[in-house]
């Protein structure tokens, strides 16, 4: 990804580059950056990927401080990781997500993603109640997605910078310690 840093801009300004030229250049860069290709899942089917996206956003949702897992692209990252996992791990993901969706159909009569918000929560509340001692694939799905969501979200810029407020790394002339 190409960005024009503040330092570069200042350097360009001090080098006498005309302000209008800079604006044009910055706009061009911005336009170029604003056209990311839609993520194509490498392992999950479109339906599975959608389910994963919905689940991750429920687990770490947008809150006043920061956007949630959907905006952070967590499902895309999980897909990448699972696509590089062993066949056993891949099968476990697929089987457990299916079990979770079966649970939704049993409790709510339709696919998890087709449930209204309160229906989705009813399913997740029931699975979460068992998370310390998972005995079914549906509960295991919850535990697996939850861990992957935490891993994916807090290793994203939204999760680490915006939500947690990590301030580094900066090039400091001095480290003052506790002040």
């Amino acid at each position: 990804m190409t960005t024009i840093s503040r330092r570069t801009v200042l350097a360009l300004l001090s080098a006498g580059i005309a302000h209008t030229h800079l604006e044009a250049a910055a706009a061009a860069v911005l336009a170029w950056r604003q056209a990311p290709a839609a993520y194509v899942p490498a392992f999950f089917t479109a339906a599975e990927h959608h389910l994963l996206d919905v689940l991750t956003e429920l687990i770490l949702p947008a809150t006043p401080r920061s956007p949630g897992a959907h905006a952070a692209g967590v499902a895309d990252f999980v897909d990448l990781v699972v696509a590089h996992s062993t066949p056993e791990t891949q099968q476990a993901w697929r089987r457990e997500l299916l079990a979770l969706d079966d649970e939704a159909r049993r409790a709510g009569g339709t696919h998890f993603t087709a449930l209204a918000d309160h229906g989705r929560r009813r399913v997740l509340d029931a699975l979460s109640a068992e998370e310390a001692h998972p005995a079914t694939d549906a509960v295991r799905a919850f535990v697996r997605v939850k861990q992957a969501t935490i891993d994916g979200f807090y290793s994203s810029a939204i999760g680490l910078r915006q939500e947690l407020g990590y301030l580094g790394p900066q090039m400091l002339a001095e480290f003052k310690g506790c002040v």
Binding site: I59, L164, F175, G177
Partner: protein, 553 residues
């Protein structure tokens, strides 16, 4: 006899090898330095400033690639030899961490520089266990001085028992608020907390800049603010007519003459795969503890049928490493939801808990440090065990971030004959060189020390009013601390040791070893790099004098 182009062939460009090369070249010797890996370019090889999202797998690498391999991850994997690819028996018992490149593991080391004290050299006569070193602290102290002047330490005098103060280029890095809180809590229970003595510069030194506090030191430093031989020694040697650096030179065997003395080294060029020979009046091995032992065991000849300099049969035996406990993690209620500050600092904690068990009655020999993990880091901390999902989960993780204190014990392991490596008859490496296999494990003393570590870690966390997260007591496999040592040990008796007090092989007068192979004991502090360098400096001065007078070579 034709004039040889080199006086000394040095194998390995890390702490022990580069130090030897510098001292020898300064003394007028013509030195060829063989390095198995490549030259590194700090600006592009060290991903110190990259964030997780800059890397495809967020720094973790593809699933399973580096799990459980401390120091090897997506930021550093291009530097290290992955034991899952270059295999050996048995990874579960010994973590062998190899970094084949100019500078070796000084590129990514932990940077702690505690001197080893008078008691550490004389465990048998002064503490009642193990074997004494064939030299004492006072003999090595002047060399610690020389090494520290080169390395450039941030630190201060502490006057702490058996941990002699060093020469500090600049002041210690100041403590974070959490480190001050920890000190106050430890004061209440009589546990000392000292400032780290670290090779991350707090002032410009020797043409290198001071630390810029990005905290990425473990991935290498792009500006050389932490000491490495790549940044601080190799540039002093390059361009000098008596120094030659040969990279991609994978040593296979030390060659001997009719008398059984070293006459050179055969190596494989990692690029052309061709075997070459180089000759010198003396050979210095500093390929890292296991590689040096492997090279000696693979150097079998009529005069040295059990491997070069191995009439004692001790090469590969007495394998030690700093023992390393699992972590104990506490959440400090008073630190929850702290206002965010840049806590990065000079990489790792600026405080440490030194060996404080000297005058206590212990059920074990030796001692240990407790290392500290604290601050707002580059990842969420302590995210496990939180029930539920949604905004409450997000809030709890936000609250815990930066409120975690993580402790780990690093201690002395005892030298035992049965902890060893030898040549595996059934396995060679990618160059066809016979590989080693490990037969080792922790002993009763290490397990008793571990119990003591966990007891004190818990007392410290309780003194901090921490909520202690579930843990299980364990020691990491040997090798995990990357302080492996002892497998060509020094000693006065040629029947039970490989090297004399100068790092010179008892059996081969023109063969020296200047890495941690020569250690008689493992450290009860953390960090062995400046110990290696001080011994290497002393050995190299001795060798240079021998070459000058003709007593050696």
């Amino acid at each position: 006899m034709p004039q040889q182009p080199y006086d000394v062939i040095v194998v390995g460009s890390g702490a022990g090898g580069a130090t030897a090369a510098l001292v020898l070249v300064d003394a007028g010797a013509r030195v060829l330095l063989l390095e198995a890996g490549r030259m590194l370019t700090p600006a592009t090889d060290f991903l110190s400033h990259e964030m997780p999202w800059d890397l495809r797998f967020r720094g973790e690498g593809p699933p399973g690639a580096y799990d459980g391999l401390w120091k090897i991850n997506e930021y550093t994997a291009h530097l290290y030899t992955n034991p899952r690819e270059d295999t050996y028996d048995a990874l579960d018992r010994f973590h062998w961490t190899r970094l084949r490149a100019v500078g070796g593991r000084t590129n990514t080391w932990g940077r702690s520089c505690f001197r080893h004290g008078p008691l550490d050299f004389k465990p048998a006569s002064r503490q009642g266990y193990g074997d004494d070193w064939p030299l004492d602290y006072d003999e090595l102290a002047p060399y610690y001085d020389k090494v520290e002047r080169l390395v450039g330490l941030a630190g201060q005098s502490d006057r702490y028992p058996n941990m002699p103060d060093g020469i500090y280029a600049g002041p210690p890095h100041p403590w974070r608020c959490t480190e001050r809180d920890l000190k106050a809590a430890c004061d209440r229970i009589g546990v000392p907390v000292l400032g780290e003595r670290t090779a991350a510069l707090s002032v410009p030194h020797d043409g290198r800049p001071k630390c810029h506090y990005c905290s990425g030191c473990g991935r290498g430093c792009p500006v050389g603010a932490r000491f490495s031989t790549l940044d601080a020694i190799i540039p002093k040697l390059q361009g000098r007519p008596t120094f030659t650096l040969r990279t991609h030179a994978v040593a296979r065997e030390v060659l001997v003459d009719d008398r059984g003395h070293a006459r050179g080294v055969s190596f494989i060029d990692a690029v052309t795969r061709k075997e070459e020979e180089v000759h010198g009046r003396a050979v210095v091995l500093a390929a890292s503890t296991v590689e040096t032992g492997r090279l000696l065991l693979n150097s079998r000849s009529r005069q040295h049928p059990a491997g070069l300099a191995n009439s004692s049969g001790r090469i590969g035996h007495h394998l030690m490493d700093t023992i390393k406990s699992g972590p104990m993690v506490g959440i400090l209620p008073s630190w929850r939801n702290r206002p965010r500050v840049n806590d990065d600092g000079a990489g790792g904690s600026h405080a440490t808990i030194p060996r404080f068990n000297y005058d206590r009655t212990n059920g074990y020999h030796g001692g240990y440090f407790i290392l500290i993990g604290t601050g707002f880091g580059r990842g969420a901390t302590a995210t496990s065990g939180i029930p539920g999902y949604g905004a409450s989960l997000k809030e709890e993780i936000h609250s815990r971030y930066g409120s975690v204190l993580s402790l780990r014990g690093y201690g002395e392991s005892l030298s035992r004959y049965e902890n060893r490596f030898d040549i595996d008859p059934g396995r060679t490496d990618a160059f066809g060189i016979p590989q080693v296999r490990f037969t080792c494990g922790h002993g009763d003393n290490e397990r008793r020390m571990m119990e003591d570590m966990y007891g004190w870690m818990e007392r410290i966390l309780r003194a901090c009013d921490a909520e202690i997260l579930p843990y299980s007591k364990r020691l990491e496999p040997l090798g995990d601390a990357t302080h492996e040592c002892g497998t060509a040990r020094m000693g006065l008796d040629a029947k039970t040791s490989v090297l004399n007090r100068w790092g010179q092989a008892h059996d081969v007068p023109n063969l020296f070893v200047t890495d941690a192979s020569g250690f008689v004991t493992s450290p009860g502090t953390h960090g062995i790099t400046t110990w290696i360098m001080a011994l290497a400096w002393r050995a190299s001065e001795y060798l240079a004098e021998g070459l000058r007078t003709g007593d050696i070579g």
